[in-house]
Amino acid sequence: MNTLVPLSFFLIVSTAMFFIGIWGFIIRRNLITILMSVELILNSVNLNFVVFNRILFPDHFQGLFFSLFVVAIAAAEASVAIAIIINIYRRFSTIEVDSVNEMKY
């Protein structure tokens, strides 16, 4: 067990990935790049669950299974989001969020 890298190293990497994802979420105006930022955030959360499971509670599998279900839900979310993006592109010929604001106000 002493060959595992310390817990805080993993947590720092996943924190960095999470906040880079939030940064991208704020600066990007394109629906697909926003979706990619969301994938970064989900990935960092997955990493956190698995690392806590493996290093702090190696007598359970809960974190591993939670990450598996998160991956499955991310797949469902990506497929529905891309269907919506294609539909938006067909109607507006663009996927910039600033141009698709008909439902605002």
Partner: protein
């Protein structure tokens, strides 16, 4: 594999993750951003291998790196022209997002470094495929058969919904 080797491997993977995460959000060509996201996901699978969770790493490689990134690249090819460069992000968003990221990340990392995590004292269980599969499909205590079935229904519903949404209205 000693601890030193593991730390070097960990440093390699985390450097790949952080550099390509930045390239994912700052690259102004959308296909390069998607390929950078692919590198981030593959390096995360490497971290799962280092934690002895081979099954999770395999799921990450096939579903995330193989499935979702291919889906994203398909939608990029369907909706935008490849050679188009994004305009630069407005400086206001860059600064506000940077402040959010730096302060949030700083507070989180400060908390991580000053909190003492207490590990469970129980002995570790094996992480091979047999133990994972038995627990995933068991209906007893600590079994995950019900969430497994629910997630399969959810995936079916999402696939049907995606087809219905993206279908051309005649």
């Amino acid at each position: 594999m000693g601890l030193t080797t593991n730390i070097w491997m960990f440093g390699l993977f985390s450097a790949i993750i952080i550099v390509f995460s930045f390239m994912t959000i700052f690259s102004r060509r959308i296909l390069r951003a998607a390929v950078s996201l692919l590198f981030v996901l593959v390096a995360t699978a490497g971290l799962y291998f280092m934690l002895d969770y081979q099954f999770m790493a395999g799921v990450q490689l096939t579903l995330y790196a193989g499935g979702i990134v291919v889906l994203i690249i398909f939608s990029i090819l369907l909706t935008s022209t490849i050679n188009q460069k994004f305009p630069k992000a407005p400086a206001k968003y860059l600064i506000l997002g940077g402040i959010t990221a730096v302060f949030g990340g700083g507070i989180s990392i400060y908390t991580i470094l000053h909190h003492s995590f207490t590990a469970s004292a129980n002995p570790a269980i094996p992480t091979n495929m047999k133990a994972i599969g038995t627990q995933l499909l068991s209906t007893g205590v600590n079994g995950y058969a019900l969430p497994f079935e629910v997630i399969s229904i959810l995936l079916l519903a999402a696939m049907i919904a995606a087809i219905v949404i993206a279908k051309k209205v005649i």
